[in-house]
Assembly symmetry: D2
């Protein structure tokens, strides 16, 4: 059995979550998110955001979070702008379009949107009513290529969106890792200040399943619980989600685990760098994209699982390595040894 | 804190499931349902159904199972027939309509559809192309009022559907309880013989979350995995679902738990009956609908949680009591004592 | 060739419309409803309604008008209430559901909704968020069985809707005939006072094609032109619609033609009545539903085309006879002669 | 009043159509496309295509034709490939996405798709089931920039689609003009051989409104009439459409009018060319895209209406000039005189 660096959802969850599930298992709790653990976890998240007007909704996965949120925020004639590399544009099987809405691709810079690239889309949508009205700007943080938005980038984009009457929505499948990026100055409560809504991923950062949708803009609260139920996202045993987020957020576990994932990534990135390797995208969170000769990729692939991400030419490709809180130290070391042998 | 008989999802899951999660927690497994536990659980279900051509897909909830399945089976101009008491008609926030399809209400007999009541809908849909073409017949087993389909009822309905080129789809949120109903002769492998597709509920019968969609008719297999992903139903950590179904189905745990739930219900039903109580619907599975004077309902409500289901007149209402595998014996006894005191 | 009383769209249009088309045919006009005829016709309709805040949009058919309007007015989790006999519930091939919204059937009284029957639907939708939020009340005037809303009925229903935060929308495929019903006191400008939106049908009252959607409530104006285009309802040669409505509304032609249709219907209704015939629904506009012995239906069917509407028992059925402005006097006379011979 | 070259729908229809409407106006005809004129027109089209298995459906506009056809052809998890310049990608207000389907943009070559550019999209959709399955290839002929597919280009693309199990669908808003292009060898009956379905536009070539959807592939026939009604595309007075297509196709009027439009365009194109003008796209049908200095555009704009299509740099832009069968000779001459004065 190979050691896998394919993704950050290969293992189960942090042991404390299983302990919490066991400790409370036979208690009777109300269903549909009205259990005491969900209520408490939501309050803690709102408190840590210092945003009492925000509302929190737990769902089971990222595609679900995106489709529920975006379809709830848009009117029939409105669309969502995404980086051409954005997860909703190309990796969620048309989930947004299946709710009736177009995803407008925008040029991305290091996987990120800027006010300039969003403005390009607006400029190209001036023929009324023959073109859709873009209304939501979708960004991922960390992005699909592991880069992160710093505080000033996010603030600038949000202020631009405000000025254009656009909603800014952040896909936070790896938001913990983005926040804890060594190169980042974005703070957790900035998310309430500089987005209209975002989701916070637990699946890839310590949870078994679960994402927390946080809606900061009160104009987007109305009817959200109906849409959750309508799209099949309202779990009857909401306690499963509540207990996970409670475990991750009542202390700092969520942030600590993300930091571990990033530290692991930096260790691997450093090994490649010291061996003269170039990168397809900068290592800012827990994804690493080294560029390797194909024969060296084959050597690595004997013992390790990972994706070959982009064929760059006939000789070289970028591979994707992902680390997590659960990556075992001994496996990291084995990998680094093998990287050193590639020279 | 009152003792709750409001539903069968107030507690967590059977302890063996938590044990299995703990035992395998830090193993690396492939994502999106390709983990070894999901694969094994699916094979066991297919084996127990004696239906090698059937395919199994795990999802996280019942509304999700229904909307994924029905929207996958229908063409844009086709509709689904449901009992007017059916869960998809009135309790899933328009989930089916949100996928673009009408739910045609049919008259129900004890919560069940018959070939006669389905035929009434077909007879009323003869104006082509001004009316939709009904194509799927949706039934719940156990039904929303706790009644069950026996083998001959199901067989007759299925053969009728075959003759009319209709697909028969069964919502099995409480399918274990239906199968294990004392009054029932339906066997597990009849589900493969007499339905085109069905789902098998774990959430209300020992699981933490999870429903298994089983598609028997190969004509309905194509593209199903795409639709799962598109509707946000494909969990990255599919192991969570796989391990639960494996635990429930590798032995007979699933059936044993359902039997316990039904036994609990019969105990309560007997108490009401011995006290001269009438019932709004016959107790065939784990739901009990005794009819009580309003003042007696108030007495019961002091110590117990349950729903007042239907106001019958100014003096009387039917209440709904639900039991499960997790109902504690001591709570059952307390409840029976209180029922005896109502006289 | 039989004489047809099957519907009020068997003939073309009033000759003045063809004259207007010919007179303006080779003029250059702007497209998409910005031609001078559309603009002028819209202004005239708004003026006659004495409702300067209303906006008018022309579309080509009734199902299109309904689906554009209702899908534009509803949020994803909202539904529309219709009489169980309503056209959108059963005769438009699931057009509303195809836009993602459920149609909630309500009990009807003489084909009409009342505040009591709407309230019944609201009462049955109290389980939040497991049931949809009804938001639009759809009525047809004249109804599908030819009855009409008088001023006080409409006012009462509208005020009730206001009090419940519901929008009242009227399908006016035969609105001219309803307004001109001999038994009616509803005035044209009442439509602006007592509905949030309605559509006004030309196809069945003098036009070649065309319905005018009038939106009185400014809260429903936003984005409507986008939705028109999105649903394929915005004609590039909008002049075709504009010229028709201009011809029908610059004088009183629209109302005169409706009166003729109703007069024709009364003439036929009278003939049946004088021959001792009973009616399945009262003749208030241009639809007549006499109840006849099946052998007499066969006699009539030798020379005339009409629908057998409802089988009442083994011996009797209700037939539907429809008249229009275009029904020829000689055909009316032939029909009356034949009715008199039925005795 | 300026002379307009903005589009080919500024005028009404060919006078023969109005004559046909007048001559048949008060005849009684069956509704919903069952009138004798629609039936006859459909038969003539099928005969001219030499394709007895093809079925023809009349609708009122191009966006409507596209959304009805594409949503009928696709399963929920399938998408349609369009040139990035394709009308459905950017000029129909998300009409396709509103039916639940993504439009995948493909690189275009002179506004056209080739097997290479379609293959690029397929290559980028290999992650199953996380990406959609492209199933329909949408092309426009003439394209949105006036270029046309010749017989070998269309044949090659069709055969490629066959080999990849893709349906080829052609938007023929200006199909007459494409067929009659002086540079083209495509014959009318090639459309039945080399497409699975297409639509044939009358609105921009002699009709008042109306497009004829022709479905050659019998696998795509099923249920199409239901979808027409569901999307609001089935006119009750179908005679309006039938009579137009009968007038255009019982002789060669449709083709003659298209030839006139193209001849007019060549006359204008020649004038620009002789004045040393370059073109943004080659003039192959009735659209001309000359590149002009901005001050010269201003001069032209004093007397003529047209669109400035693309700003090329600070000094120059491409304008769009469209001619039609209805363009008056005197206006053409005035325009050519003005072009000659630009030097």
């Amino acid at each position: 059995m190979k050691i896998s660096f394919k993704n950050d959802y290969s293992e189960g969850c942090h042991p404390k979550i299983l302990e919490a599930l066991m400790a409370t298992n036979l208690e009777q709790q109300d269903g549909y998110g009205l259990d005491e653990y969900s209520l408490k976890a939501k309050q803690i998240i709102v408190d840590k955001l210092q945003s009492p007007a925000s509302k929190v909704f737990f769902v089971s996965g990222g595609t679900q979070a995106n489709l529920v949120a975006i379809s709830s925020f848009l009117k029939p004639y409105q669309s969502v702008i995404s980086a051409e590399t954005g997860h909703i544009f190309d990796n969620e099987t048309g989930a947004i379009e299946a709710t009736g809405h177009k995803v407008n691709p925008a040029r991305s810079v290091n996987g990120k949107l800027t006010k300039e690239t969003v403005q390009e889309v607006l400029d190209a949508h001036q023929i009324i009513p023959h073109q859709l009205m873009p209304k939501v700007v979708y960004i991922s943080n960390a992005t699909e290529i592991g880069t992160v938005y710093n505080a000033s980038e996010l603030k600038e984009l949000y202020e631009y969106c405000q000025s254009k009457h656009l909603y800014l929505y952040m896909d936070g499948a790896r938001l913990g890792q983005a926040i804890m990026s060594a190169s980042n100055d974005l703070k957790f409560d900035d998310l309430a200040k500089y987005t209209d809504a975002f989701y916070l991923g637990a699946t890839k950062n310590g949870g078994l399943i679960g994402e927390a949708i946080v809606i900061n803009n009160p104009a987007l609260h109305e009817g959200f619980d109906f849409v959750l139920k309508q799209k099949g996202a309202l779990l009857s045993k909401g306690r499963l989600l509540g207990l996970q987020f409670l475990t991750l957020f009542e202390g700092d576990l969520f942030f600590e685990l993300a930091k571990v994932a990033n530290d692991h990534a930096r260790m691997i990135s450093k090994a490649f760098k010291e061996n003269g390797c170039k990168f397809w995208a900068e290592t800012q969170s827990n994804q690493i994209f080294p560029i390797l000769d194909n024969d060296k990729i084959e050597v690595l692939a004997k013992d390790f699982d990972f994706y070959v991400w982009r064929k760059l030419d006939n000789d070289q490709s970028a591979i994707r390595i992902i680390t997590s809180w659960a990556t075992k130290e001994e496996n990291l070391e084995k990998f680094v040894v093998k990287v050193n042998e590639l020279k």
